[in-house]
């Protein structure tokens, strides 16, 4: 059976490492890109079921990367990974205004949170509160 594929797009190697370690023993295959252009291209070329996308990156940022992804994969689940601060949300409000769909995942990330949200999106059952 083919493993479900997850794409992480982040210029920070430590963040990509965090996803890789968290999902090391999961039933998913992790793809990585360290910039938005490569990430959007990878997304267009590969079958991917879930994307974790950094908001702030050198080159094209997360919102522009999202525009490129949406041009080819309108229904793909894309999580924008960012701190939850109002000053970081202006671009996301604009993106919503353009009709771009996305979900949010808060930085900094904990291993269990990466596992829970990945399982929550890709089909595993939720765990108890606390």
């Amino acid at each position: 059976m083919n493993k479900k594929r997850i794409l992480v797009i982040d210029d920070d190697a430590a963040v990509r490492d965090a996803f890789r370690l968290a999902l090391l023993h999961s039933p998913y295959l992790l793809l990585e890109a360290d910039n938005g252009e490569d990430g959007a291209a990878l997304c267009a070329a590969e079958e991917v079921e879930l994307v974790y996308l950094d908001l702030r990156m050198p080159g094209i940022d997360g919102v522009e990367t999202l525009r490129r992804i949406r041009a080819v994969k309108p229904d793909l689940t894309v999580y924008i990974v960012t701190a939850f601060h109002r000053e970081l949300f202006d671009d996301l409000v604009t993106a919503r205004g353009e009709g771009l769909d996305f979900e949010l995942l808060r930085k900094p990330l904990r291993r269990q949170q990466i596992l829970d949200i990945t399982n929550g999106v890709l089909g595993a059952e939720p765990g108890p509160e606390g």
Binding site: I80, F84, H85, F89, V93, G120, E129
Partner: protein, 91 residues
């Protein structure tokens, strides 16, 4: 009466469908015995911080205890009912 809070990322057609799906699921699971508040994280990041929200969508059960939450896919009724420990009679 269940008190629930749904955290979403902005408002738009897709999120409106998400909200409608949750209401439909709750109608089926607990009849009219619930109150659902919707919170847009883009507008209310501090509220999300208070509720220790780390991802959207998140559906929180606030009352009655125990508090519970479901994060991610909210389209599966069994997953939501089990995750929120809904009894089906409005608590």
């Amino acid at each position: 009466m269940y008190r629930l809070r749904l955290y979403v990322a902005g408002l738009g057609p897709a999120v409106e469908r998400q909200i409608a799906g949750v209401r439909s699921l709750l109608d089926a699971a607990c009849g009219g015995g619930y109150e659902l508040a919707v919170c847009d994280i883009l507008e209310h990041p501090l509220q999300a911080q208070e509720d220790t929200i780390y991802a959207t969508p998140t559906l929180l059960r606030l009352r009655p205890p125990p508090t519970a939450r479901v994060v991610g896919d909210l389209s599966d009724p069994q997953r939501v009912v089990k995750g929120l420990v809904l009894a089906g009679n409005g608590g």
